[in-house]
């Protein structure tokens, strides 16, 4: 009975969400990135290239750019950061 109830419940949950969450472990987890090193615009001008793509965000009048070339690797998909007065997860 319990099994049937569980099955029924999963079916209902599935039809409501329309998407069954069935993730697959592909590689081992990577440690979270916290308090990343941040440079000023002038400093960054020495090594960020003009045509390089950045993910830009503004919080409470504070702007920050995350060069996509630094975010592109399974170890770097998410940067836990703080900007303005907010805790943000920079990812795209």
């Amino acid at each position: 009975m319990k099994l049937i109830t569980t099955l029924l419940f999963s079916l209902i949950a599935f039809s409501v969400s329309g998407q069954d969450f069935n993730p697959r472990q592909v590689v081992k987890p990577f440690p979270s990135i916290q308090n990343p090193e941040i440079a000023t615009s002038d400093e960054a001008g020495k090594w960020v290239i003009a045509k390089e793509l950045v993910l830009g965000v503004v919080v409470a009048d504070e702007a920050r750019a995350y060069p996509i070339n630094q975010l592109t690797n399974p170890t770097r998909e998410i940067i836990n950061d703080t900007l303005g007065d907010r805790s943000i997860a920079a990812t795209w």
Binding site: G18, V26, V57, A65, T75, I88
Partner: protein, 213 residues
């Protein structure tokens, strides 16, 4: 771009090493909940069902971003690749810009190629109206609610990265959503958080989404 606090709790996300629908699954260190990266939603664990707040962000070139925000700070980690420059969007057919969260449960998306060609695309869903914009300088894409002061607005592209609303001919920036001249001068549109995504990924995660190509 997400806010990583839920209620009183501050979360730190890590790459879980899992994939779901070929896409990243995040895990927060504090509660070990698994989160869909694209949906921004807790899928399994203590915070299952919770949706993260999104913040509007933009992808553009460094030179364009620096021109907009000269005082901007910059992430200073070692590069992991060199492949992302403005040439990345040449294969525009593969990408859509989609919005979700703060959209009354809807998730409309517009093909990047259409945005590149037209500059300004109006999107009417069942519940709201949006304007999607593209700037050739930097190649950035954004979406705004197509209303100001409680009035619905209909936009068309103008030269030099501007757009005009049909109702009174005011001129607006496609970048900031601020009216710079005309009767609506000084008003601003509300930006809606969105993301550039592969077409197939958007379709998989938002099966009900209408994609305008």
């Amino acid at each position: 771009m997400y806010v990583r606090s839920v209620g009183e709790k501050e979360l730190n996300f890590q790459v879980s090493g899992m994939l779901w629908q070929r896409s990243l699954v995040m895990r927060d260190v504090e509660t070990e909940t698994l989160w869909s990266h694209l949906l921004g939603k807790g899928m399994r664990g203590e915070l299952e069902g919770t949706e993260l707040e999104r913040i509007p962000s933009v992808i553009t070139t460094w030179e364009d971003w620096k021109a907009r925000y000269p005082q901007s700070s910059v992430l200073a980690m070692k590069r992991t690749t060199g492949g992302y420059d403005e040439g990345k969007w040449e294969k525009a057919r593969r990408f859509v810009f989609g919005i979700s969260g703060n959209t009354k449960g809807e998730s409309p998306a517009v093909g990047l190629r259409k945005l590149q060609r037209e500059g300004v695309v109006m999107v009417k869903t069942g519940r709201a109206s949006y304007v999607f914009t593209h700037r050739s300088r930097g190649g950035s894409v954004q979406a705004f609610r197509a209303e100001a002061d409680g009035r619905p607005l209909a936009f068309s592209a103008e030269e030099n990265g501007y757009m005009e609303n049909e109702e009174n001919g005011s001129r607006w920036s496609r970048e900031t959503g601020i009216a710079i001249s005309g009767p609506d001068k000084g008003l601003h549109l509300e930006a809606v958080p969105g993301t550039l995504s592969f077409v197939q990924a958007w379709e998989a995660f938002y099966p009900k989404s209408e994609i305008i190509q």
